[in-house]
C-alpha cells in the first residue's frame, strides 16, 4: 500500500455528523450509478451462472439432488468423451495453425503489390457468419464429385491419370462369366477354334450404351476362329439371362481379349455395333475370352470428407479458412507498428532475411501473436456453430465438441438439463485459466 491510497480514503471513525451525511449521499450516488450495471450483470451473468452450477447437481429437469452423478456421466458417456477428445484436437491444432498462417500472410502481404486486394480476399470470410460459412463448406465437402468442389478438383486430377472405363457399373449377367469389375470378366468355359462365346453384361443404363449400338446379334461360328458377342443382357422385365433376345442391344467398342491356356493374352479386338467380335486364324488349343478391367474402371467416387473419419479435419480446415483473415489483419497491424530502424539495424549487422524475421520480427510481434493465440484458444474452446452446420446428422456424433454436446444434451431432444448444466460448468472451468491469462495481460499492458 502506498500513501496515496490511504489519503484517498475518507477519515473513518471520528467523522463529524456533517461529513457522515455527505458520505451517505456519495454512496447513494455511487450505488445509483452502479445499479444498472449490477442489475444487468446480475440478471444475465451472475444468476444464470449460479443456477447452472446448482442445476448441474440435479437430476434432469427435476429438483432431485444427485450430487456428482452428472459429472461422472460427463466422463463416461461415449458421445461426451468423444466431444472432449475432439476439443483437445481443436485446441492442439487450431490456435497454433491460425496464428502461423496469419503471420505468414501478414509478412507476405507486406511485400507484394496487391496487398490490399489480397488482404481483403483473405479477410472476407470474417464477414460471413460462421453458420453460413459452414453451409458453404458442407456443399464444398460433398462426396459426390458432381456436387462437392473439393472432390471435383481431386476427381479431375484422378481421372486424368486413370480415366474411367466405358462401362463402370456393369456386372456379369450369368455365372458363366466369372471375375469382378476390378479384375475384369472371363468366360469360365474354355473355347476351341470354331467355338462361340456369349458375354452378357447387366447393370448398364441405356444412357451408357454408345449411340451407335444396334440389336445384339447371335454370333456365327467362324472356322479356325473364335467368335462371340458382348451385349446388354437386359430388356424391360429382365429377359432371360444368358440369351441374346430381341430388344437387347449389342455393346460396341468393348475390347475383348483372347487368352491362351496359360492365361496369356494372344490378341484383342473391339466389338461391332451389334456387339459381335471374332478372332480369325486361331491355332488349335484351348482359349478363353475376357474383358479387361479397364473397361470397368470406375470414375473417381469422391472422398468422404463429411464421413465419420475425416469430419474433424474437414471442420478444422473450414474454421481456419474463416479465422486466418482475422489473424492476418491483427498481425499485420502489429507488423506495421514495428520500428523500421530495428529491422534495418538487423540487416546492416549482416543478418539474413530469415534471421531478421526469426530474431527481430517475431520477438517484437510476440504480444500481438499471443493476443491472436489466446483469442483463438477461447474461440476454439467454445466452437459450436461450424460443427452443427457442416457435419451431417450421421457424423455429428463423431464431430462432437463440448459446446455442441452441451446444446444437444440440454435442448437437442435429450432434454437432460442437469447433465447439460454439468457440461456447461465443465466448459466454464476450462475457459477460466485462459481468461485469467488474458486478464493478467490486460493488467500488465494497462
Amino acid at each position: 500500500m502506498n500513501g496515496a491510497s490511504v489519503t484517498a480514503e475518507p477519515p473513518g471513525r471520528a467523522a463529524p455528523p456533517v461529513a457522515r451525511a455527505g458520505r451517505l449521499r456519495k454512496h447513494a450516488v455511487a450505488a445509483a450509478f452502479l445499479a444498472p450495471a449490477v442489475f444487468f450483470l446480475g440478471v444475465w451473468i451472475i444468476y444464470p451462472l449460479a443456477d447452472t452450477v446448482r442445476r448441474s447437481f440435479l437430476y434432469r429437469d427435476t429438483n432431485r439432488w444427485i450430487g456428482l452423478h452428472n459429472y461422472k456421466e460427463l466422463f463416461t458417456l461415449g458421445t461426451i468423451v468423444t466431444a472432449i477428445k475432439n476439443n483437445a484436437i481443436w485446441i492442439g491444432v487450431v490456435p497454433a495453425l491460425v496464428t502461423a498462417i496469419g503471420l505468414i500472410f501478414a509478412v507476405l502481404t507486406e511485400r507484394i503489390r496487391w496487398s490490399v486486394a489480397f488482404k481483403t480476399v483473405v479477410f472476407m470470410p470474417m464477414a460471413i457468419s460462421l453458420f453460413a460459412a459452414g453451409v458453404i463448406w458442407r456443399v464444398m465437402d460433398q462426396e459426390d464429385p458432381h456436387v462437392g468442389a473439393l472432390n471435383a478438383g481431386i476427381g479431375a486430377i484422378h481421372d486424368a491419370f486413370s480415366p474411367p472405363g466405358p462401362l463402370p457399373d456393369a456386372a456379369a449377367s450369368t455365372s458363366n462369366l466369372t471375375g469382378s469389375p476390378q479384375r475384369g470378366f472371363v468366360l469360365h468355359k474354355p473355347l476351341h477354334p470354331g467355338g462361340v462365346g456369349l458375354l452378357g453384361l447387366t447393370g448398364i443404363a441405356t444412357s451408357e450404351v454408345p449411340s451407335t449400338a444396334v440389336q445384339a446379334a447371335s454370333p456365327k461360328p467362324v472356322a479356325n476362329g473364335i467368335a462371340g458377342v458382348v451385349w446388354r443382357d437386359f430388356k424391360p422385365g429382365g429377359g432371360k439371362a444368358g440369351q441374346v433376345e430381341q430388344g437387347e442391344l449389342g455393346l460396341p467398342g468393348v475390347t475383348v481379349q483372347l487368352e491362351n491356356a496359360t492365361g496369356r493374352k494372344v490378341e484383342s479386338v473391339k466389338t461391332d455395333d451389334n456387339g459381335t467380335f471374332s478372332f480369325v486364324g486361331v491355332q488349335g488349343g484351348e482359349y478363353r475370352v475376357a474383358i479387361g478391367p479397364k473397361t470397368f474402371a470406375k470414375p473417381f467416387g469422391g472422398v468422404a470428407w463429411l464421413g465419420p473419419k475425416l469430419i474433424t479435419p474437414a471442420l478444422i480446415v473450414a474454421y481456419i479458412w474463416v479465422w486466418a483473415g482475422f489473424a492476418m489483419v491483427v498481425i499485420a497491424a502489429g507488423l506495421a507498428a514495428i520500428p523500421r530502424e530495428v529491422l534495418e539495424a538487423g540487416r546492416t549487422d549482416g543478418g539474413t532475411e530469415w534471421q531478421v524475421f526469426r530474431r527481430v520480427t517475431v520477438p517484437l510481434l510476440a504480444p500481438v501473436l499471443s493476443v491472436v493465440f489466446i483469442t483463438m484458444l477461447i474461440n476454439v474452446l467454445k466452437v459450436f456453430d461450424i460443427v452443427l452446420s457442416v457435419a451431417p446428422g450421421s457424423s455429428q456424433d463423431d464431430a462432437n465438441v463440448i459446446a455442441l454436446a452441451m446444446w444437444r444434451t440440454s435442448f437437442g431432444g435429450v432434454n437432460d438439463y442437469g447433465l447439460g448444466a454439468a457440461i456447461a460448468v465443465f466448459l466454464f472451468l476450462l475457459v477460466i485459466p485462459v481468461l485469467a491469462l488474458n486478464v493478467r495481460r490486460f493488467r500488465r499492458e494497462g
Binding site: H27, G203, P236
Partner: protein, 431 residues
C-alpha cells in the same frame, strides 16, 4: 463502508421483482359464449398455415364472433408450448407434432379433456386414433392431420426402362430391386443422413413382419430390442441396406444423403435412383418440374405376412386444449367433423384420419390414394420412435437414429445392432 453494500443488492432484487411481476401479470384471457377469442400455437407454417387458416375461416362462418389468434411454431412448437405452460400463460389450443408431450401435459393437468368431442370423433375416425389421443381413458388429443408412412415412391421412367411393376409382397419387392439394378439404375434412395428415415423403414418392416401386437410391446419397451422378432426385422432390413450397389454412392453416399436430397434423387427428370421408401409427404420436397402419375407414382409398402397386409404405419399432429372455454370447445368440435377436414383436403398436402371425408375432396390422385388408405386402414400403428422417449427415438446423433445409421454402415451386424439398441433403450426408459 460495509453496511452500504445492500444498495446494489436491493436494486437488483427490486429489478428482479419487477421482472417477475411483469411475467406473471397480464395474459389471463376470458372468453364468454361462442363469441370470444382463441389463441393457437401450432406447428404448421407456410402453406400448411394458410390451409389451416382456411379451415379456421370456415369455422368463423358459423361463429363470426370468435376471434382467432394463430402463432406458427414450426419445429420449436413443443418447446414453445412447454414454455408457455410453465410460464402460466398457455394458448387455448396447441397443435403438437408428437403425442408424447400431450400425454405429459395431460398427466400434469395442463391439458384439458375434450370428452365432448369423443362421440363425433368415434363416428369419423378409427378407434385407434381415439385411443392414441386418450390418456387414462380420457380423450385429450384430436388427430386432425395425419401422415401415411407406409408408402414407396418411384420414378415412372426408370420403372418403365426396367420393365418393373410395383410390388405387393416383400419378395417381389426385392426381385423388383434386382431388376432395376440389372437395367443399369439404382433401386433405393436411402436418406441415411437423417436417422428418422431409417427408423421409419424399420418400423414398417417390424409392423408387417412381427405384427401389431409385438409392435405395441416394443413401443412401450415391454419386450427387449434383442428379441428374436427385432433381429428378424433387422435381417429383413439388411436385405435392402446391404444391397449397397443398389444405392447411389453406396453406404457412405447414403449416410450423407438427407431426406430432401433423397427425394430429388427419385422424383426428378434426371433420376439417380428408382425408389424412395418414405411417407406421403415426399412430394412436398420435389424440386424438379415433374407431374404425378406421368413422372412419379406411389405404391403401398409391400406386405411381408398376409395377416398384416393392410397395415399402415404413420404419424399425425395432435390438437389439444389447454384452456377450457366455449370458443375453444367449439373449434375442437368443428375440427372433429369431416367438413373441417374437407377444407384442407381440397387445398392439398393433407391426409385426414377422418373416414367420412369424401374421396373427391382430394384433388391430387396420389394424395387421394395414400390418404384414403390411411383413413380406412385395417391396422394402423403410430410411428414408434415418436412414442418413445425422445432421447432414444428422436434425437440427432444418438439413440435409435444414430444406431440405425451405424447399422446402415454395417448391416451384417444384426446381433450387435440389437444389443446396442437395447442398451440405449434401457437407458432412455430407465430410472
Amino acid at each position: 463502508m460495509k453496511h452500504f453494500r445492500w444498495y446494489p443488492l436491493a436494486l437488483f432484487a427490486l429489478g428482479l421483482a419487477a421482472l417477475i411481476a411483469t411475467g406473471t401479470a397480464g395474459g389471463a384471457r376470458h372468453a364468454r359464449g361462442v363469441s370470444g377469442s382463441i389463441s393457437i400455437i401450432a406447428k404448421w407454417t407456410g402453406d400448411e398455415q394458410k390451409s389451416f387458416l382456411a379451415v379456421v375461416a370456415e369455422f368463423k362462418k358459423k361463429n363470426p364472433n370468435v376471434d382467432v389468434k394463430y402463432t406458427p411454431g414450426g419445429d420449436n412448437t413443443p418447446q414453445l408450448v412447454s414454455t408457455a405452460v410453465a410460464g402460466g400463460n398457455p394458448p387455448d389450443i396447441a397443435v403438437l407434432p408428437q403425442p408424447g408431450l400431450m400425454r405429459d401435459l395431460a398427466k400434469r393437468g395442463a391439458a384439458k379433456p375434450i370428452t365432448f368431442a369423443k362421440p363425433t370423433l368415434l363416428k369419423n375416425e378409427a378407434s385407434v386414433w381415439v385411443n392414441l389421443g386418450s390418456v387414462n381413458g380420457k380423450l385429450y388429443g384430436l388427430f386432425f392431420k395425419a401422415a401415411n408412412k407406409s408408402t414407396v415412391w418411384y420414378n415412372v421412367k426408370l420403372f418403365k426402362d426396367a420393365g418393373a411393376k410395383p410390388a405387393a409382397t416383400f419378395s417381389a419387392f426385392l426381385k423388383l430391386a434386382k431388376t432395376v439394378k440389372a437395367s443399369g439404375a439404382k433401386a433405393y434412395a436411402i436418406a441415411g443422413a437423417d436417422g428418422w428415415t431409417l427408423t421409419d423403414l424399420f418400423e414398417n418392416i417390424y409392423l408387417k413382419q412381427a405384427g401389431p401386437k409385438k409392435y405395441d410391446l416394443l413401443t412401450t419397451h415391454k419386450i427387449k430390442w434383442t428379441d428374436p422378432s427385432v433381429k428378424a426385422a433387422l435381417r429383413t432390413m439388411a436385405k435392402i441396406l446391404g444391397d449397397t450397389d443398389n444405392i447411389p454412392g453406396g453406404k457412405s453416399g447414403a449416410l450423407q444423403t438427407d431426406f430432401p436430397t433423397s427425394v430429388t434423387q427419385v422424383l426428378t427428370d434426371s433420376p439417380k435412383a428408382a425408389m424412395d421408401i418414405e411417407g406421403d409427404f415426399v412430394p412436398s420436397d420435389i424440386k424438379a418440374n415433374v407431374s404425378a402419375i406421368k413422372d412419379y407414382n406411389v405404391f403401398p409398402f409391400p406386405s411381408i405376412k398376409p395377416s398384416t397386409r393392410l397395415s399402415i404405419m404413420g404419424g399425425g399432429d395432435t390438437v389439444i386444449m389447454l384452456k377450457d372455454n366455449p370458443a375453444a370447445r367449439a373449434l375442437i368440435s368443428f375440427l372433429a367433423t369431416p367438413q373441417a377436414a374437407t377444407v384442407w383436403a381440397q387445398r392439398g398436402g393433407f391426409s385426414s384420419p377422418n373416414k367420412n371425408v369424401k374421396p373427391s375432396a382430394y384433388k391430387d390422385p396420389l394424395n387421394r390414394k395414400t390418404a384414403l388408405a390411411l383413413a380406412h386402414a385395417k391396422i394402423f400403428r403410430f410411428d414408434m420412435s415418436d412414442l418413445q422417449p425422445a432421447a432414444f427415438g428422436a434425437t440427432t446423433g444418438q439413440g435409435e437414429w444414430k444406431l440405425f445409421q451405424d447399422f446402415l454402415s454395417n448391416p451384417k451386424d444384426v446381433n450387435g445392432a440389437a444389443a446396442k439398441l437395447e442398451a440405449a433403450a434401457k437407458k432412455a426408459y430407465g430410472k
